[in-house]
Amino acid sequence: MVNPLPLVQSVPSPGEAAAPLWRRLYRRKGPPSLFLLLCLNLIIAPAVQGATGPQLLRTQAYALGILGLVTILLSGYLFVVMFQPERF
């Protein structure tokens, strides 16, 4: 008598349409782009160290470089939201 299927399940949800985007980004582009970022940091970190002088340890320069890259990525993310807000 009781049907286990929830009724709303058959409604195509707009949320689902967006989900693959994140999954794609997460699964396929994730690891290689992360690797690329770390490579990029090999260039940035010495520059950071150069700008601040000897009081900054090498590890700190690398950490700061990564933080800078994260900031730039966040900024890029915000630009995507700005121009395609309906995707979020």
Partner: protein
């Protein structure tokens, strides 16, 4: 003290009286109504249109308009770049100047084509009469006309009309507004003692020591000077700009220059009022900007009048700060000039902004950040309306309707363009390069003062570039052959271009979109944008969104400096 305030008040009164006739005239010109100059100029304009192959001037769509702006500006930039690079081979070069370095030429051209006129060179020893008069003087007219045409297109779009034809408005701006006023103004300047000659510099023995010879630079200054002011260009013929006695010899020329700077930006608001058929709104906006302008003058004037506490202690009494000021103008005229030139994005200077008291400097920087205390030729007025649109969007929801401005809905597209235009371009074009420069200050900055003042100098340079102002907190090693000149020339060029063309594209697209929207009728439920309340709200939005963004840099620059020298507040 009183005399100074009276000078300021009288100047402002003249500007106020000038607004309705000039604004009305501009509205007639750009709406194609009859004017008294028709008989004189229509044949000339027809000739220009025929030579330019423009034929009938059809209305342009948004992107057509943008392409017209960009390509015409690019073509002019290339032309002037060539003139400058080959000035050694070209005539009218009595001092035999060679080519400047490529980066100086590039920066100069970008700076002049964007109506900025930031100068990383000394005019009299870098550019020939031909480069100055025909190259840069040509850009004085065309860059100002570009701004004016975009503003008119923007006003047309906002009020639901087609954008018009860029080349048509551009021509009209020159033939009907800039050229006639410049002709009259140049004659007055010559009469007041400004040189207008193609003769080479005069070499004379100095008074102190007759054996020492001094070259006194001359040139075709008067005509250059008037359009420099009227078109909000600001690029001086001589290195010391309007502080130079041959550019700005006396009180009369100083008054004329201030009025010329203010004339068009103030009148354009009135022109809008006629286009929108709502003069009440125009006057309210005018009053708001006038209020901010008066506030800026007040703060800067008091700071300068009180003078430097350190100097006052030595002198044993309060004295106005006259460092870097011309005695013939005094503190009042210098402050009024400085606030006006940074507010209107003219960028001409009759005193050293670098030597202003920290708070005076903070006011000048704030003007550059806001860009609407009258604002640049045309663009300032457009920014003003962009702020209005933003205020409508933020507060308009509070009346329970989708926000509307002039009967057109403010939706996603408008919000993207407006906020990009007035919120995002500036921080990107000022703070990011400034941060890079200061991070590598030894290699890139070349500031004359370290610490807070050095920070102000760097921020000011980029703010001046991004706002298309052109004045400077001098003291940066930004002229060739300094080692940091290349960085300065190139990095400010990026800010110049970003500060000019991204907003222009956004403005035209915004106006284009608005003009295509079906108008929504006014009802009692519509937010009225022509009330004192709403204009007050707009002022709040301008201060919170426009100025607070830069509060941290103001705090670390001029404000910290003010505390440092003590009693600066």
């Amino acid at each position: 003290m009183l005399q100074g305030w009276i000078q300021i008040a009288l100047t402002l009164l003249i500007i106020l009286l000038l607004t309705p006739p000039l604004g009305g005239y501009m509205a007639r010109v750009f709406s194609g109504s009859e004017t008294r100059l028709d008989r004189l100029f229509i044949p000339l304009e027809q000739l220009i249109y025929r030579w330019g192959g423009m034929g009938s001037l059809v209305d342009m769509t948004g992107w057509q308009y943008i392409r017209a702006v960009l390509f015409s500006n690019l073509a002019m930039a290339l032309l002037v770049f060539m003139v400058i690079m080959f000035q050694g081979l070209l005539p009218l070069n009595p001092t035999g100047l060679g080519s400047p370095t490529w980066d100086t030429a590039l920066h100069t051209v970008i700076s002049f084509v964007t109506n900025t006129d930031q100068q990383h060179y000394a005019g009299e020893t870098t550019y020939s009469y031909l480069s100055q008069g025909l190259g840069l003087g040509f850009l004085f007219f065309t860059s100002a006309a570009t701004g004016m045409a975009v503003a008119i297109a923007f006003i047309r779009g906002l009020t639901g009309r087609p954008l018009g034809n860029f080349y048509g408005d551009w021509t009209l701006a020159i033939t009907r507004i800039l050229l006639p006023i410049s002709l009259v103004g140049a004659v007055i300047l010559v009469a007041a003692g400004v040189p207008e000659t193609l003769a080479a510099p005069v070499v004379v023995p100095t008074l102190e020591d007759a054996t020492v010879q001094q070259a006194i630079a001359l040139g075709p200054v008067a005509h250059f000077e008037i359009i420099k002011m009227l078109g909000e260009n600001g690029g001086g013929f001589f290195a010391s700009n309007s502080a130079h006695p041959f550019e700005n010899p006396n009180g009369l020329t100083n008054l004329l220059q201030i009025v010329a700077m203010m004339a068009i930006p103030t009148a354009l608001i009135y022109t809008y009022g006629i286009f929108a058929n709502n003069r009440r709104q125009a006057w309210l906006i005018y009053a708001m900007v006038f209020g901010i302008y008066l506030g800026c003058i007040g703060v800067a004037a008091i700071a300068e009048y009180q003078g430097n506490p350190a100097v006052n202690a030595l002198l044993g009494g309060p004295h106005p700060n006259l460092e870097g000021k011309e005695v013939r103008f005094g503190w009042a005229q210098s402050v009024l000039y400085a606030v006006t030139t940074t507010g209107t994005m003219c960028g001409a200077v009759n005193a050293m902004h670098d030597s202003f008291m920290p708070l005076g400097g903070a006011v000048l920087l704030t003007n550059l950040f806001l860009q609407i205390v009258w604002g640049g030729q045309g663009t300032g007025t457009a920014y003003l309306f962009a702020y209005l649109i933003l205020a409508v969007f933020v507060t308009g929801l509070m009346v329970g309707r989708t926000p509307e401005f002039l009967g057109r809905k403010i939706e996603q597209r408008e919000v993207v363009l407006t906020s990009l235009l007035i919120l995002l371009v500036h921080p990107i074009a000022i703070l990011i390069p400034a941060a890079v420069t200061l991070a590598f200050s030894e290699q890139l900055a070349g500031t004359s003062n370290p610490g807070f003042h050095g920070l102000s100098q760097v921020i000011y340079e980029y703010a001046s570039a991004a706002a298309n102002n052109g004045s400077g907190f001098e003291g940066l090693a930004d002229s060739q052959p300094a080692p940091t000149a290349l960085w300065w020339n190139l990095s400010t060029s990026v800010s110049l271009l970003a500060g000019r063309y991204i907003p222009m594209i956004a403005l035209v697209l915004l106006a284009d979109g608005m003009s295509r929207k079906p108008p929504v009728p006014m009802t009692a439920g519509t937010l009225r944008t022509d009330t004192g309340l709403f204009i007050g709200v707009t002022a709040g939005v301008i201060l919170i969104m426009g100025a607070l963004t830069f509060f941290p840099v103001l705090a670390l620059g001029p404000i910290a400096e003010a505390f440092q020298i003590g009693g600066g507040l």
